[in-house]
């Protein structure tokens, strides 16, 4: 997917004044934040489960190659073909080759963020293949030619009127804004696609080393349909998604839906192992599993390694006050919110997403809700460190910091400067006791006053024996 993270500030500003988006984001916040809280409250030993979940992910990441090899061994023994892809382009090429190999024309897709990373749909269409997104949100995005704005609720930014307009345009049926009718319409329009498809492409929420299985979760049933009906199934996922055993994946499943939407379990959990047996009633005859790196392995052994624990629940963005106010599109790539602020610069280059790790107050709520205890603010701070080390910050910023730091090391000079500043600012504020303009700080004063200082510094007053 094309990177537009360098336009973060402009898009954030646009989204702040987008009334419709603001109302949609409010709804998302209420549903997902309250939903998670209620769902977590049902687990008396939630902290214990969370520690265990973080452990599972950490153990795997520390032994990623061993578990991936075991997965490959088991999956292959059951008749699947395991492909390894270093880059997004590799994934696209492999999928296209598979399509050619099996004489595929029509493809149905269930949700896969990794496929968004790769821009898979666009590539396949450029190769003359017909690709139909079947997750309702992703289908809507496909019609609208837009990227997702949230990893779990991809069209949170659209109203039912928007969707009604899209459907009228593409389906040529009478317009309706009734939500149930819109869903029924999508079902009827997409059903023939499932039945006619030669190939189903899915993601993989997890892959299980013990059994060589791919695990997919959905609520709609499109994941099952895409991976049961067509004769070819291609699953694309990141190398970090491997989990050792069925028990381990069960621990993670206790937390993923609760953290994401507040559900105790997603409607459908499918564990897919190997190909259709000779006597099987249904299932794919050919099962291809593509493991994508795309920069993940380069995070290993670095301070950013904990990011690989991520199970893509979306809790961080649901609880992030910055995301709650600007939405997902401002982040300019596949992954928004706090996890996006770490993944995007890591995968597409630090210099292409300079604002992302900086657009945080480090309030810490993301780290509080992460089911696998990723220290997201610390990771964003590491990225800020790297920006400074690589001289990617504006010189004014570095200069201001250096000046501040230098002054703060020289107490006498510091005392004098602050004494003067306090008095001057008090003077400029006048009778109102607040300033509506501050040189060099228009970011503050654009929409806020700055309360005037008292006029004398604490150090000054304390020194002369004043108590208050």
């Amino acid at each position: 997917m094309q990177v537009t993270a360098m336009h973060f500030k402009r898009k954030a500003a646009e989204n702040l004044s987008n009334e419709k988006l603001q109302r949609a984001l409010e709804k998302l916040q209420t549903k997902f934040v309250n939903g998670r809280a209620a769902a977590i409250a049902e687990l008396p030993n939630f902290d214990q489960i969370r520690n265990a979940a973080a452990d599972v992910r950490e153990r795997v990441i520390n032994n990623l190659d061993r578990y991936l090899l075991r997965f490959e061994q088991e999956a292959t023994a059951r008749g699947a073909v395991v492909h390894w892809a270093e880059t997004a382009d590799d994934v696209n090429r492999i999928v296209a080759d598979i399509a050619v190999l099996h004489g595929v024309q029509r493809i149905v897709k269930s949700k896969s963020m990794v496929s968004e990373e790769c821009g898979l749909n666009d590539y396949l269409e450029s190769q003359g293949l017909n690709v139909l997104e079947t997750d309702l949100g992703e289908y809507i995005l496909q019609l609208a030619h837009e990227p997702p704005s949230h990893i779990v609720a991809p069209v949170v930014h659209k109203t039912k009127e928007d969707i009604a307009d899209l459907f009228v345009d593409k389906h040529h049926r009478p317009r309706t804004t009734q939500i149930a009718e819109l869903c029924r319409e999508a079902r009827e329009v997409l059903r023939p696609g499932f039945l006619a498809a030669d190939m189903g492409i899915s993601g993989g929420n997890f892959i299980i080393a013990e059994t060589g299985s791919v695990l997919i979760i959905t609520n709609e049933g499109n994941g099952r349909l895409s991976t049961t009906l067509p004769r070819v199934h291609v699953a694309v996922t990141g190398i970090e998604k491997v989990v050792p055993t069925l028990e381990d994946v069960t621990t993670l499943l206790r937390l993923l839906p609760r953290s994401a939407t507040g559900q105790s379990i997603t409607n459908y959990v499918s564990v897919l192992t190997g190909v259709k047996g000779r006597d099987d009633a249904d299932g794919a005859e050919h099962f291809h599993i593509i493991l994508l790196d795309n920069g993940r392995s380069r995070l290993l052994g670095t301070e950013l390694q904990p990011m690989l624990r991520c199970i893509r629940c979306g809790a961080c963005m649901n609880h992030c006050p910055v995301y709650q106010n600007i939405g997902g599109h401002a982040y300019g790539w596949v992954y928004p919110g706090p996890m996006g602020s770490v993944l995007t610069p890591s995968f597409v280059g630090l210099e292409n997403a300079l604002d992302l790790p900086n657009a945080s107050t480090f309030c810490g709520q993301c780290a509080v809700v992460c089911p696998v205890k990723i220290p997201l603010p610390d990771l964003m701070r590491h990225l800020r460190n790297r920006q400074v080390e690589r001289h990617l910050r504006p010189w004014q910023e570095r200069a201001a910091l250096r000046v501040w730091s230098w002054m703060a090391q020289h107490p006498a000079l510091y005392a004098l400067s602050t004494r003067v500043a306090a008095r001057l600012l008090r003077l400029f504020a006048g009778g109102k006791k607040r300033l509506s303009h501050l040189p060099g700080a228009s970011g503050w004063t654009e929409e806020r006053d700055m309360p005037a200082p008292a006029g004398r510094t604490f150090r000054d007053l304390y020194r002369v024996g004043r108590r208050a």
Partner: protein, 245 residues
Amino acid sequence: MKVGLFVTCLVDLMRPSIGFAALRLLEAAGCEVVVPPTQTCCGQPGYNSGDRIAAKTLAKKVLKEFDGCDYIVVPSGSCGGMIRVHYPALFADEPALHETVQRVAERTYELTDFLVNVAKLESVPGRYSGPLTYHDSCSGLRELHVQAQPRALLAKLPGVKLAEMCESSTCCGFGGTFSVKFGDISARMADNKCVHIARTGAGAIVAGDLGCLLNIEGRLRRRGDLQTRVLHIAEVLAGEDGVCK
């Protein structure tokens, strides 16, 4: 016990009354308070901006100035958290300093946490009366577990009526340099906070961090609210001049 007061650069420059209020409270708790005169900044601006070198230089200065106190008390969850939680991480690559850093970090407390859990202050000198609402500053809450302590202390003021706001623990949008670098997002977050404050009908908003208070007050006044008072918890508890109904 010898308590070193770290007033913070913001308090020093913008609102010394908070520093004096903290002093008054610590003395009421029976502490011998020292105020190291060369203190300036804890290093957080550099730390959060990615300039570890600048942060370390200032942190080493703090270590030197405050090592030797039995406790270090800070009227700020943000600076308190910097010293207590982040100094150990900041100096993880300098084993020679581990002992000193550990010692200073362990002895550092946010003001209300210290008053409730260490000094066990029984009564407070303040005389505030009227409805007020409380904002949980992020670092205090999530790094130092400051939440019950200010409320326990406010409960000691018979005239105070605490009206909790919705989302009292949602970030106000200050975030240090974030408030200037991403001013529009920051202002919106502050605005959301102002809306929640207004809904409580309280006459004052109270918090434990001056950064939050300046941010909230700045947005309140620009919104046209010149009534709602904006107070640091220390000021309310200490009953400094002018801070009672």
